[in-house]
Symmetry: C2
Subunit: 163 residues, 2 copies
């Protein structure tokens, strides 16, 4: 999947960046495991602590306080922030509860928000993963967010070709 | 190894950050695969492109131009930069040639500089890995840099206990 995404990015001449909370670098690691990814890969920010989300990615502290770190709003700010910070045409973001701790009745383990951005288009999606343990929850999130980026990229390419 | 490092960090009350070029997020991913790592993990920067090394981590462009991205100097600037940016007492950095491309006679595939910082102490080390393919080169670098951080942390703890 990462290989397919790198090829799609290269074809379009899009650069790529990641902003990861619950996946902790696993998305970036998947993309950079592809040989030759440096054509498109700018880099990423692992924003594990909320102070990194705010201080580096520019997610307003008030938004984190109001909606929580695991929220649609924070996922969207993260993807926009990293895209701007690393000057990347395409970016992704993840924020969720990978477990085993951290779950609440409202946001149980497996609650994950993912986001992707391609040029001006942003897509945000809620995953309610069946909790299969921390490592598997992270892996599943990586698959989903790479898929979302590819989907968005195809749509963007398609709409640009139509013009 | 990551579990041991997280325990050592927690024991000391040190926060942790990563600055990764050739490992592309694999170090951060290893540390965040440990449940409960959020006690110590601030986050990290995947500085794949040189513009991220310079623009986000503050590695002077002149240093990159003079010594190359794969150098002792850049590794040291990266670890100091991420430690400052994410306000972490302990940090690590990696910059190297994971392959299969990118090797030169001077810096063949498997040439990797790693760095670790604990409080004011910095250790930088050159790895000359036997090239066992990109994925294995990355894995080996993760093991080496986690080991270097643990080593430095033990030394720092030891010298602080002596005071």
């Amino acid at each position: 999947m990462a290989t397919r995404l790198v090829e799609a990015l290269r074809e379009k001449g899009f650069s790529f960046a990641t902003a990861e909370s619950c996946t902790g670098g696993a998305v970036s690691q998947a993309v950079t495991s592809v040989a030759g990814c440096s054509d498109v890969m700018r880099g990423g920010v692992v924003a594990y602590d909320n102070c990194v989300k705010a201080g580096v990615l520019g997610v307003p502290a008030a938004v984190i306080a109001e909606h929580g770190a695991v929220s649609r709003e924070v996922a969207e700010y993260m993807v926009r922030g990293v895209s701007r910070l690393l000057d990347a045409e395409c970016a992704v973001a993840t924020t969720g509860v990978a477990g085993p701790g951290g779950g609440t009745p409202d946001k149980p383990v497996g609650t994950v928000w993912i986001a992707a951005k391609a040029r001006d288009e942003v897509a945000v999606r809620l995953l309610s993963l069946e909790d299969k343990g921390r490592i598997n929850n992270i892996k599943q999130t990586v698959i989903e967010v790479l898929g979302l980026a590819e989907e968005l990229l195809c749509r963007t390419l398609f709409s640009e070709n139509k013009k």
